[in-house]
Symmetry: C2
Subunit: 208 residues, 2 copies
Amino acid sequence: MSMRGGRKTTESPQVDPTPALGKTIQRLRKAYNLSLGELSEQSGVAKSIISQIERNETNPTISTVYRLSRALDTTVDEVLKIDGSQVFLEHQLKSGIPILESQDGLCRLAITGPLNLVNHIQWYDFIAKPMGVLESDPHPPGTVEHLYLLSGQIDVTAGDDTRRAKAGEALRFRGDLPHKIVNVGEGDAHATMILVLRQLSGNEATGK
Amino acid sequence: MSMRGGRKTTESPQVDPTPALGKTIQRLRKAYNLSLGELSEQSGVAKSIISQIERNETNPTISTVYRLSRALDTTVDEVLKIDGSQVFLEHQLKSGIPILESQDGLCRLAITGPLNLVNHIQWYDFIAKPMGVLESDPHPPGTVEHLYLLSGQIDVTAGDDTRRAKAGEALRFRGDLPHKIVNVGEGDAHATMILVLRQLSGNEATGK
DNA sequence: CGTTAACGTTCGTTATATAGAACACTAGTT
DNA sequence: AACTAGTGTTCTATATAACGAACGTTAACG
């Protein structure tokens, strides 16, 4: 008797085990602002292959997916996950810092600041396509968010307050409230976003 | 400026991304008492491929590894883990029941009983090669372990008490103490092991 | 304009992962 | 002993994943 449980082969004869792999890889790659060539360099995978993987035109080798997921600071399982329902992808870095990136590609938040300061100050590069909306849950109390708009035009809503900023302008608002950033311009909106956590002031070192 | 952090390509030029995959697959397959042919049927992967994968003679496709890991009730990441230090592999089933299986292949514990009773009674198939030792941490208080030796010869130590059993004999001992099973015979030892948890008696149902 | 550079795609070739058949090997049976 | 049924391995052919080069496109510059 070698049967065990009710597992069957006939479950799904020809399921594509990796329906979302391509999109996920591409999402992560863009979240890091990497081109195919750059990711190719960093991962060791030919850029043509990456291109095909992103369009689900190939069934990559474990080795290939492994190298890609390493270069993208994530795991094989993570890139295999089918998260079609998720609006935002939350990607845990090795350092524990999440990268938020909208699935439809409208908004993108990439960390650009030094990782060792992440408990004091977080520095993001923010790009939103027209109509893009980034909604954030509150950050820790006392957090202040600084936003310097490099190009485009956005509306920022923090709590009840809404303000508009054009290219070259800066905004500062409370990050410990639910807040929202909307690209109200016609082109892409590009901004530098800096989160200053309260711990920074009044405590020179965490003591660890 | 497309640089980001300090990720480098030169990290490891030609690392084998899957050094333990073969062993892990084989371990899991044996933990389920599956032959290559059986796993082939259940996973849809040709048994020749599984054979090659287990001996690390191929670099399987994501699809292949995915089908295998599914058939083995685990994830892709799980089979990729390099746990060379671990003496025992603890494999979480979907149902949450761990399977213990020694890495060197000396001992093997496979669940054979019905899964829905796992909180009351656990029923294992135990096989140990010569010199094989299975050490267990204490089970919940009140647990009694029943062991019926099908073939071979073993010593069981529970607490301070040590007893020997030959083929056809049965042992019963306290499972809530650290205990150890040693195959002292020349051939394989094969036993049926039944864990009876206290909840079974005095409570007809856990209420959930 | 043409030039350059960067992007993602497609092409041509090579390497190899896959499946199925054939193969040894063992153990149990008559 | 021969006959089975099981194991895991090795064959052979085919499909295709991988790479690097060439390509079309776009954008920024002179």
